[in-house]
Amino acid sequence: MNIHVRQAEVSALISAAQARYVREIDDGDCTAWPNFFVDDCFYTITSADNYAQNLEAGLVWLDSKDMLRDRILSLLEANVYERHSYRHMIGQPFVGELEGDEVDSETSFMVARITREGPTDLFATGRYIDRYRIVGDEAKIVSRTVVLDSNQIDTLLGFPL
């Protein structure tokens, strides 16, 4: 197949996956969130400062699909917090060149949060720094580093970004 056609296809697959991803978080219950990842995936949330300085710690730091499942299970069954939901706006993914069946991608996002009793607040902005694997006609996340633009984080970071 023409390499440009393939590249365009991959971009479309990533865009479609990301649209479903934010829909699951914003309008679903997050239980299908781990399914967007491969089994031995990596997911972390950090700040731009930490990322620039190569500091490894994250606000969330998960290195298997099971850990992603556990995160949602804990949020739904164990942790105590006030009811809230997110609304993600995501930009166009900036997709790199396909290397075998994997590809790097970066996407900007803004997330508003709606809390019981509260207004709609701008909760976070940042970018996803991703590695995707193309499995059949699906793009699955191998690694997602959520880089928040600000080092100041609101007091509750429950559901995934």
Binding site: D49, M67, S74, L156, L157
Partner: protein, 421 residues
Amino acid sequence: MNNLAPLGAEMPVWAKEDEGFHVPYWVFQREDVLEMENERLFQGETWNYMCLEAELQSPGDFVAVHVGETPVIVTRDHDGEIYAFENRCSHRGSLLALEDRGNVKDFTCVYHAWTHSLQGDLVGIAFKDGIGGKGGMEKDFCMNSVGPRKLRVANVDGLIFGSFDEDVDDIEDYLGEEVLDRIHRVLEGRKMVVLGRFTQVLPNNWKLYVENTKDSYHASILHTFFTTFELNRLSQKGGIIVSPNGGCHVSYSEIDQIAEAEKAKNTIYSDQNIRSQSDLQLADKSLLASFKEFDDDITLQILTVFPGFVLQQIQNSIAVRQVLPKGTDEMHLKWTYIGFEDDTTEQRRARLKLSNLIGPGGYVSMEDGCIGGFVRRGTKGASDNNAVLEMGGRSIEGGDDRITEASIRGFWAEYRMRMGL
């Protein structure tokens, strides 16, 4: 934003006999109380955590931090010593450092280029003698007569504390021997490395968070992560230590080896009965994989230094937290996640995984970040009512029981003493 009494209204009286077991809610709400705190606590005879020695490796390294609401610069000079002074220009008060950290040869203000040394002394004034005989400073102007205030600095196992008051007790006396020993226990003789830094913005007065960190009573009630997934398998015992003045504390729990040995003896008979009650299980328990780091059985140690510092050991998750007021109704909690230079790759990984327990999204600490906001909202309109802190009696003595509010009462005892409230 706050429940300020009408301007000019006098501060209400907090009855002496309430000691630290009845705390009126106006203490969290009033602007004048915050002003007094900045003056009498944060700029008074207290020690305030500023940064890690590990963040100031080479001469010229600096970090810009806060002590209370006051901006402060901490540096390492060419003599190898650490210095701290206000982040405020001698001339007309602009910030001197506009970055959080870096390496510089001096601090030259951006406004009119007055230059300050790494120790905070004014050493240069642009156009001091004017141009062509015109302008310039008065001949009798003395550069030593102005300058940002300096702080006294103390280094405890790589934790750098500062005090605006020269007459503050030596830090060893301030902490008391027992608390100091518990800092040594975690940090003595070790080379720290920073794994990450996060600033959590809490929607409440800073003292509500301090109360929470000293509250050993809530842990098993508010935080249900460990109980839901039945992760606390080993019998635990523990206790609290309160410093002589009340304001510093240690709360800890350790594996109860005697109870464990007893259990082991009985296992053969009761094996069927110890099956999990709940069907909720973590799929990946490597989250909590820990390694032997200390030569005791303490799995959790939370240590606070008056007024706003926390050193945390949760298994192998080590972190420091700095509590900073931002007005009466907001605060910043600055987390620094810590590892050590000689960590193996596996040990480092274990620390990173365990840090899922802490911070704004932590399995165990996410509730702590919100509870202060619940109290702020709950106590609106109840300024003259008071919190009840009588669990475990009214004293501020430590002991081997954690169902107590003794260390919170201790905080208020020292708070009242230093505030004269």
